[in-house]
Symmetry: C2
Subunit: 284 residues, 2 copies
DNA sequence: TCATGTATCTGACTTTAGTCAGGTATATCC
DNA sequence: GGATATACCTGACTAAAGTCAGATACATGA
């Protein structure tokens, strides 16, 4: 991996050079680029660029404004915020960056045969997925937090989708049992969007895992079992040595995962009408 | 591919952070690192780092010298040149960089299962090979050039190896037929080392391809057919519409490649005792 | 031996990237 | 309505990265 980095960066790292042809310094070009990609407020930009200093960003925006590439306006819904947008000239610049970058990529791929290009694409896609998966961090959030709500929204939407029923709006409102002191809720996010989530709570004197969901695009990346281990550890912290969960026969991947993780099938322990399978695991 | 760059650099690009913990600025740390990797002269360093300004490098070396990490000495074989080497302290620093970088890589891979790590490794190795292959440039050299001699050395060594005979030193001395005006010799180099070579000359009124060799580590990367196309184009330039070549039955990969490239088997056209197969291609 | 070229160095300079300490206007909570 | 927090801004600063114009010592070919 380190070998790859050295060699790759040496050859392809020149990607950044594409920013240089624009006459803009790298940092400023990155800002322009992110605006074109959809950043709408200064704050948004700062987050996308990895938490840059606000003064620094402000100054670069001033530069871009004076060159006539971006226009700024106050946000009507919050007067402290300012909206950023590309002007027509800015859009031209952005297209230019895109084109130059595209050209570079083509130049590199040119000597390869179609089959090799396909292989390279596959390899990079695989590497990308795995690196993204590896850099995902699981963190505890309040189930009322917007990001948690978003994740539960996905969860219920998918359940509704797969099982042919829908839940009302109250469905994923607040569930106090998933909050301290008797429960916890976790999400795994990639680039700010939730890709997996799940909670643990107390039920009938044991731990219970609830609302576990993994983004379909991320299944098979080991995220589910990672999250599961996390939830089990949390259940232990909450004082339970046994965790249970229910699921449904249609979710065969999930069932396989539970079995591989050491869960054993038990009899029905609740009256959830949608559940068909019930599992339990004793932790040491 | 561009998508990969953005996402990969954002996550792993922090690789460079490993240089930061050393208390040395990035550029200076890179110099230290390259010396540890084997750079021996200032010039060597400048080339490895992509043509940095000589004054800039000189200044950084002064810094490293004053910190006691590198020792410099004049080159006895050329008094203008200066040799660089790590001191004991410098070596310690270098090991530290290595260790830190290794740690980072481990930290990243930690959340992955063994299977995923293997997959990532494979994917990166494939991507690396292909990117290296894509960035190789084929260039014409005089067959007496040291790099050409090196390539022919590999070629004869391998022939000797595979066929159980050896050639004398005169074997790969100068072959005027592979030079202008009736011939040409090409090498493909990666990081300064030849990875493939081949020549074209006039023989019996047609073009003939000679001494084609691809580094065993690079076979299957399409380098052979790329070089072959190059040689054919050169033969055309030299005024031939037909190229021939001889090879030996043991070289089945090569034979397959010639056939895929449109070569047809013909009768023996020379008295090369080591050749068993003879091919020809008519170009339009 | 002289002209020319090469390898490295020094000094003076610029641009980029980034930090830190406030300041102003607006929003929000009690 | 007042305290506090937030979003953005300005000004003053630093360190890193890099450029450019010579200077110096040595090498090389005619």
């Amino acid at each position: 991996m380190r070998k790859f980095n050295m060699s790759y960066v040496r050859r392809v790292g020149a990607l950044e050079d594409s920013f240089l042809g624009s006459g803009l310094p790298y940092g400023t070009a990155r800002i322009l680029y992110e605006i074109g990609l959809g950043a709408e407020t200064v704050q948004d930009l700062r987050i996308r660029l990895g938490g840059l200093d606000s003064g620094y960003v402000s100054r670069m925006l001033r530069t871009l404004e004076s060159k006539g590439y971006v226009a700024m306006d106050r946000d009507p819904s919050d007067g402290r915020r300012r909206l950023v947008a590309l002007t027509e000239d800015g859009l031209k610049q952005w297209d230019d960056l895109e084109r130059r970058s595209e050209e570079r990529a083509h130049l590199l791929l040119d000597p390869l045969t179609q089959r090799q290009r396909d292989r390279l694409n596959d390899a990079l896609a695989t590497a990308d997925l795995l690196v993204r998966a590896a850099t995902i961090i699981i963190e505890q959030v309040d189930p009322r937090d917007p990001i948690a709500q978003m994740a539960m929204g996905h969860y219920f939407a998918e359940i509704g989708d797969r099982f042919g029923f829908t839940v009302g709006d109250e469905g994923f409102g607040d569930d106090p049992s998933l909050r301290a002191p008797h429960g916890a809720f976790f999400i795994a996010a990639s680039d700010g969007a939730p890709v997996a989530s799940g909670g643990v709570r107390e039920f009938d004197g044991t731990g219970e895992i609830k609302r576990m969901w993994v983004d379909p695009a991320w299944r098979g990346a080991g995220l589910g079992s990672r999250l599961l281990r996390h939830l089990e550890a949390e259940a232990l912290k909450l004082g339970h040595r046994v965790v249970r969960l229910d699921t449904r026969d249609v979710l065969s991947e999930a069932i396989g995962m539970y079995e591989r993780a050491g869960y054993e099938r038990i009899d029905r322990y609740n009256d959830n009408p949608h559940a068909t399978h019930f599992f339990q695991k004793a932790m040491s």
